[in-house]
């Protein structure tokens, strides 16, 4: 089973710190006192709550309905009572709140009626929809709704299905333990993805520092008679990045501007495959996940944790040391310090690391960049981080884009190796969000401008139409008058003359009538325009709010008094002696 592996450039080798949390098997975390389940736990649309305060819910019951195709349902992690549907602080560096369903467990952990999905007789479309309804999302950390990645490209044949069991971040071992203990279910889940995507090959990439996991997976693949290849890949951070793993296993490089399916590859995490299988085979939606508890703790271990479990409460299981001063969600390379110990475990939470200065020494102060190029050598996307840093710092965001800032995957390799201790990734996040904000602003301004121009155009048109209509009416009237006058004139002339007069003689009068009509029409038009302008002016004035309008009558009275006093003191009026005007007129 020798396979030709490829290399990606760059990468770093931080101390892995994995051994401490793999000595014990996966344990079930106890029911917490309260579950705070955020509704928005995947990329895409925010699921709509379908429960309200006071509702009794069962484990696995739908509490948030997927909103749109790129969105995934959310379910009650245990049975109990909905306390509230309200805003709570999120496990996100911003510390912002988002809508959550808060559930008080009843302790019974009672499942809602559920049964296996009839997979054998289901159309692919139905399988995808079922996975969406089961809340299956990418558990590697990106939480992209899995069903959205299970449609093969219509134009490019699917060549390789890459399964990510690399787990390259230090400290994290949840995928390792999952593969060791539940390899069969993972492999069965991969089978579902294979059925839907029909790839030519299935490659399961596992970093070579996890031989037990690789052996377990290989055994499961053999036992199930699958042709999947379990491939040990060199331990090199970030080999577990989807693009890096695809590169290592297939030699293909997916740029930021393309989807991997455009190159005939798709990639899923092992834990995602596992939850997909649980959903299909047992009808269990995603209500829990494996979480590694590690770092500055006495008893590091992996736990099966209900979504919504408060992190601080969960971390107690691992007995954090007293000098613990924060919780890092995710690994030490790409994770973040959560804003509050109350924040809940979500589908993206693969690891909690108790933070202390002992395990993560405070950084030395930032020094100037010496352009040593260590970051460029470490960058797995072959970018020039020091150049992007330079332009980010100068807020020259156009230049950062020329240096491909949006190809940056924020893996942290550059910051890791920087001798000047520059938090490079932080600069790139800043630049990216500034660029996004500016684009949003520009879009909003463009829309507003468009709307305004359209309104102006419409007003002009309406004005013109009205003027034309008036003009026509006036012309018609004038013509009628002229005709009447002509008729009268004709009646006044002698009967014989009139009788003898050739048709041609009437010509002057018929000529005169249109001339009069044109004059009248112009007059009418002018009048109409003047009227329209007056109306528009009146409208404009009416539309312009005056800061004195919304005041209470008492306040208006006060204002009038003040204005009167001012006028008396010649403060406002240039002409002495003019009587004080009412406040509303003064505002003009």
């Amino acid at each position: 089973m020798l396979m030709n592996l490829f290399k990606f450039k760059g990468g770093v080798k931080p101390p892995t710190n994995k051994t401490q949390s793999v000595t014990l098997p996966i344990a079930q975390a106890p029911l917490p006192s309260r579950l705070v389940v955020p509704l928005h736990q995947s990329i895409g649309g925010v699921p709509q709550p379908v429960v309200q305060a006071g509702d009794k819910v069962l484990k696995g019951q739908l509490i948030g309905e997927a909103d749109g195709w790129i969105s995934a349902a959310v379910h009650a992690p245990t049975s109990g009572t909905v306390l509230e549907v309200a805003m709570h602080v999120q496990p996100h560096p911003s510390g912002l709140d988002a809508m959550c369903v808060v559930i008080e467990p009843d302790g019974k952990d009672e499942w809602i009626a559920h049964q296996p999905f009839d997979y054998a007789n289901a159309a692919p479309e139905a399988v995808r929809e079922y996975l969406q309804q089961s809340g299956v999302v990418g558990l590697g950390g990106a939480v992209f709704p899995t069903h959205g990645k299970l449609t093969p490209s219509k134009t490019v044949p699917m060549e390789e299905l890459v399964i990510n069991g690399a787990e390259c971040e230090p400290f994290i071992t949840c995928d390792d333990l999952l593969m060791r203990e539940r390899a069969e279910e993972v492999v069965r889940g991969i089978g579902i993805f294979r059925d839907l995507l029909q790839p030519k090959k299935v490659l399961i990439g596992i970093e070579d520092n996890k031989p037990e996991a690789a052996a377990a997976m290989r055994a499961a693949v053999d036992a199930l008679g699958e042709a999947f290849l379990v491939v040990p890949v060199p331990t090199l951070y970030p080999a577990g990045g989807a693009k890096q793993l695809i590169r290592v296993l297939t030699g293909k490089e997916v740029p930021a501007s393309k989807r991997s399916t455009d190159l005939g590859v798709q990639c899923f995490n092992v834990a995602t495959a596992y939850t997909a299988w649980r959903a299909i085979a047992h009808g269990e939606p995603v209500v829990s996940r494996l979480v590694t508890l590690s770092g500055n703790v006495h008893a590091p271990r992996n736990y099966e944790v209900l979504i919504g479990t408060p992190m601080g409460e969960l971390l107690q299981l691992a007995q954090p040391h007293p000098d613990t001063d924060g919780i890092v969600m995710g690994g030490p390379m790409m994770g973040f310090l959560v804003p509050d110990a109350k924040v809940p475990v979500v589908k993206a939470t693969n690891c909690l690391i108790a933070h202390s200065d002992r395990i993560f020494p405070p950084k030395a102060p930032e020094m100037p960049c010496i352009r040593c190029g260590a970051c460029a050598q470490a960058c797995p996307h072959e970018l020039q981080p020091f150049e992007m840093y330079w332009f980010s710092r100068a807020k020259n965001f156009g230049k950062t884009q020329e240096y491909h800032i949006f190809d940056c995957i924020e893996c942290g390799c550059c910051s890791f190796v920087c001798p000047s201790r520059i938090p490079l990734v932080q600069y790139f996040r800043f630049a990216k969000s500034e660029i996004w904000a500016r684009e949003r602003e520009k879009k909003a301004a463009d829309t507003a401008k468009e709307r305004f121009e359209f309104k102006q155009l419409r007003e002009e048109r309406e004005k013109a139409e009205k003027a034309e209509k008036l003009a026509k009416a006036a012309a018609a009237q004038a013509a009628k008058k002229a005709a009447e006058a002509a008729a009268a004139a004709a009646a006044e002339s002698t009967a014989p003359a009139a009788a003898a007069a050739p048709a041609g003689e009437a010509a002057p009068s018929t000529d005169a009538a249109p001339a009069v009509a044109v004059d009248a029409a112009q007059e009418a038009k002018k009048a109409a325009i003047a009227a329209a302008m007056a109306r528009a002016k009146a409208q404009r004035e009416a539309a312009q709010p005056k800061n004195t309008e919304v005041l209470s009558s008492a306040a208006q009275h006060d204002v009038a008094d003040i204005e009167a006093r001012r006028a008396a003191a010649h403060l406002t009026d240039p002409e002495p002696g003019t009587p004080p005007a009412p406040a509303s007129e003064k505002a003009e």
Binding site: V328, M334, L337, I370, G373, A376, Q384, V417, P419, Q426
Partner: protein, 339 residues
């Protein structure tokens, strides 16, 4: 709760570690140098280091920057050591101080300090002094001159007159002058036969100083503090042009071996042209930069009026580095077929 961005794990590296290792890499060369000319070079290194640190401290103070952090980064010391090694070992103290202060104050701090200097400060010091004090900068101790430390100190501090024995030329300079004076009648092989000046292959004693720099430079490469690009391109270009002319007329042009191990070629290839701040950063850019340095150094040292060409070669390439970088941006991950 505190805010600190990932990554929380960091490699144990710092600017001062980088600079310290550069200094360590200079030690073999300095040892050979001290063995050749005596402890004078160590005195010069101390003088230059003190001058650099004082100038740096003064400039940091004026700018209100943290003194301890920047003085301990080691960059000023590296500049000082390179200046001491590039200047004649028995140059008067004030010449070394002038060069060093100019390098730190003008070439480094006035441009914004660490990481901001477009030109290599040590080479600026050399260029300024050789233009301003050409005679003093060309006086190298005669071969075999044996002076005690006290005498050397007296020369450096100006208590002893600068006798003729102090105003020799480097082997490189001697070769050029001899060939020029000979007007075609003198033969390189004939000159090299004088082992008192030219030693075994490039310059008596000096060749071993160059070997010391080579050893230190290879160690820097092994420590991954420099990449192979600049030294390889520098040495490659020097070998190609000197080799071509040597093959064309071996009587009038010295061999590549002679050029590699004389003057500042090795120091330049491994320690000066590899300065990341003022050099190129892209792989192809580094190759162009290194090759340009080697080529220009040869042209200036053989056809120009100065005893060696490394300083001006490096400065000229510093000038071109930004545009070279701009034009040699490597293709990124996933975009290679387009580039």
């Amino acid at each position: 709760m505190m805010f600190a961005p990932a990554p929380y794990l960091l490699k144990d590296v710092s600017v001062s570690q980088v600079m310290t290792q550069v200094c360590i890499a200079l030690v073999p060369g300095i040892a050979a140098y001290a063995w050749l000319v005596g402890p004078a070079i160590l005195v010069q290194i101390v003088i230059a280091s003190l001058a650099a640190l004082l100038a740096e401290a003064l400039m940091l103070r004026i700018q209100g920057k943290p003194l301890a952090m920047f003085l301990s980064d080691g960059s000023a010391v590296v500049t000082a050591w390179l200046i001491a090694l590039a200047f004649p070992p028995l140059a008067p103290w004030w010449l070394v101080v002038t060069g060093t202060v100019f390098a730190i104050v003008v070439a480094k701090q006035l441009y914004g300090g660490l990481g901001q200097n477009p030109f290599n400060p040590a080479m600026i010091a050399f260029a300024v002094c050789i233009v301003a004090f050409p005679a003093l900068m060309s006086q190298w101790p005669s071969v075999g001159l044996q002076l005690s430390l006290v005498d050397q100190m007296n020369v450096i501090l100006g208590f002893m007159p600068r006798v003729d024995a102090l105003s020799g030329a480097t082997p490189l300079d001697a070769m050029k002058t001899a060939l020029k004076l000979g007007e075609g009648s003198v033969d390189v092989a004939h000159l090299l036969a004088n082992q008192d000046i030219y030693g075994n292959f490039a310059g008596r004693g000096w060749e071993w100083v160059a070997v010391g720099y080579l050893v230190g430079g290879l160690w820097l490469f092994q420590r991954k503090l420099i990449t192979w690009h600049v030294p390889t391109a520098f040495i490659g270009a020097l070998v190609v042009i000197s080799g071509a002319l040597w093959l064309y007329n071996p009587a009038q042009f010295a061999s590549p071996l002679f050029h590699l191990f004389s003057g500042a070629a090795m120091l330049g290839a491994f320690f000066i042209a590899t300065d990341p701040v003022s050099g190129c950063t892209t792989p192809r850019g580094k190759l162009i930069f290194g090759a340009g340095c080697g080529l220009l150094a040869y042209i200036i040292r053989v056809f120009g009026g100065y005893p060696d060409g490394v300083a001006f070669a490096v400065l000229l390439m510093n000038l071109s580095a930004p545009v070279i970088d701009l034009l040699t941006q490597p293709p990124i991950f996933g975009m290679k077929d387009k580039a």
